[in-house]
């Protein structure tokens, strides 16, 4: 499961995507995900949103 390590807004190839910190991230183009993962904006997470927030 992918979650936003920090809130982001992205305009990518004409479409705009947003996520708040800790939100599950899905439906993003693979190439955008590659960039977001590379820059540490989106990370793999095995915990639920509540657990992530509690951490």
């Amino acid at each position: 499961m992918l979650r936003a390590a920090k809130g982001f807004e992205a305009t990518y190839n004409g479409l705009t995507y947003r996520a708040k910190k800790g939100e599950q991230v899905e439906g993003l183009p693979t190439s955008l995900l590659t960039i977001l993962k590379r820059d540490g904006i989106v990370k793999e997470s095995r915990t639920s949103k509540k657990e992530t927030a509690d951490d």
Partner: protein
Amino acid sequence: MINTSIGLLGVARQESKTKAAPTPTFRHGLTGGGLIKPERTVEQKNVACGLRANTTNGAYVSEVNMAVDFETLAYADSLVLYILAAMGNIVTTSAEKPGYYKHVITLGSEIPFLTFWGQVGNTSAATVHKATGCKIDTLLLSFEGNAPLDIGITAAGIDAALFGGWSGETEPSCFDGYFIPTNGVFKFSPNDQTPIEVLVTKGEFELSNSLTSYRGAGRVIASEVAESKLKTTVKQTIIPEDYTEIRKVLTGSENGTTVTNKVVYGSAAWEFTHSQDPNCTMSVVFSNVPWNCETPEIDPEGSAAEVEFSADDIGVAAKDGSPVTITIVNKVQTYAAA
């Protein structure tokens, strides 16, 4: 008279091609340019009618181009929108300092539409023109010494409303400072992707979308403004310590002795500071640059050689690559359409 020292430009991102922005998101000062210029092309249909001159009714307007051109400073807020509109993609996150945002702009498949407002002369004379459905044609950034960065922009639109006034009360950016080379960091590598600091005296890059206007029969204003491939050109002049950089470009290695028949790909990275806000920063990173260079010329008066390294069209080396990556930190939270 029309006082040309009174000028202001407004800009906002449009939701779609036909939906103009209602008010400017940014307004800023200018250092030159004609702002919004309806360019009418008048042609003459030759008619022989008993006299040795054409008839007056042979003249017709063949096309009207809604051109936008201006020169300005690198204002931290509006510059992001211009670069986004030239390149296409942006990722915005919070910066380390609260209240600041980091915008990373890269090559995208589509570029957004902008609405421009341009004023030349006193507004009491209804001097504000508005151009809509605009795309950025070229964006030029240049610097030399410690002078403020110069930004030159050309754009083209599909409609305009002339001789109006401003809508909204957006505060102009003119008073908030701009990006400058002072205390910046300038790196360069002629043949690898890890640039190192060098003595750069001046530099520039241009993003060009090579716009083409299309108009249907019966319509003088363009119905469609289409972009082509993004062409990124870059130039920078350095004072080299020795022949190492020139040798790497010419021969492909630091100890080569024959001119290489292969392209040597290097890189460059420029970091600029802000004239008023130390938390605002700008970096420009070029990768896979097919550098070419001059060689030093004799000067009997004597001086250190300045050598220009340039590349005409930087490509991408991966499917998610970008010829240039521009990162700006400023106080603007979003560049989505208003």
